[in-house]
Subunit: 179 residues, 2 copies
């Protein structure tokens, strides 16, 4: 199989089916890749591509996802996130814990499912096109080591199915990668 | 300015104009970002997005670019490249020096401009959709530290203008980032 085929998804699948395929492919991709420092970047790069293309294989609003990627804990500055691998337009490079949707997920250690980013206090508008957002913390040994951040160009882009699947993927990343 | 606007390009620009905008925005994005280890990932993530969206703002064949990203030197395995940040479908995680177009650019320390990947001896088909490719080495202190790799779904996707501009971007990355 060509590697690219891992991020091709048949049309007509349900969101749960598509996410199940993401988890299965992720397991394969991450297997045996935890020990090299740079592999974190490989794993997060491929994971952002898998999730982005999975959501784009679905009907609206999932197909309107316009950014999908990671922010990782800055090892040199306490309580700061640094931009990691992503799919989409150029993004903010640093985000403080507690700032905006990403920073809130990091400081609260809980998923933020935001139906309308304009209504979120302190929202950081990296891209004016983004209307809704979901941010899921990746927690290792009780500490947030990274977040999954996904933006959608439509309101109400995400639901409980996204939350549940992305939390499974976050747990898989936490157990598969050395952050 | 929203960060995402850096990767919006007006239509009707020439390839040279678009690449000039990529270099200008890259300079701004990389400025002051060299000292943190993770910033390499931030810089390469934003650079892959900038270049990808720049090429997609142009007519065919540039608009048919289907993968744009980086492989970085593996610090733990001699003469091996590891997948870095990219835009596009899931990709091969490791490439040995001398293998395929990427490995040849790394071992020869020269840009590989390949009009038809099927005609390139030992081509690694990460994605069967890719028809042509350009790979530009990033050289620091005489050593290849990473490569820029761009695939196109059309034959003859790249020309001397791409080569010249991408070599300028590779030089900027070499001087701006600690690999």
């Amino acid at each position: 199989m060509h590697h690219a085929e891992a991020s091709n998804f048949a049309s007509g699948l349900t969101k749960k089916d598509v996410y199940a395929q993401v988890v299965e492919h992720s397991r394969g991709l991450f297997d045996g890749q935890r020990n090299w420092r740079q592999n974190l970047s490989s794993n997060l790069s491929n994971a952002s591509s898998l999730i982005y293309h999975a959501l784009h294989s679905l009907p609206s609003p999932s197909s309107a996802v316009n950014w999908c990627g990671f922010y990782v804990l800055d090892p040199t500055t306490p309580s700061q996130l640094l931009l990691g691998p992503f799919q989409g337009h150029v993004a903010c490079q640093t985000i403080g814990f507690g700032r905006g949707v990403c920073g809130t997920a990091a400081s609260a250690q809980t998923t933020q499912l935001v139906k309308d980013v304009e209504a979120f206090p302190g929202h950081i508008a990296c891209d004016a096109a983004s209307k809704s957002e979901i941010v899921v913390p990746i927690i290792q040994k009780g500490k947030v080591v990274a977040i999954i951040d996904i933006d959608c160009a439509e309101l109400n882009g995400f639901d409980e199915d996204d939350k549940e699947a992305l939390e499974t993927i976050a747990a898989l990343l936490a157990e598969s990668c050395d952050f």
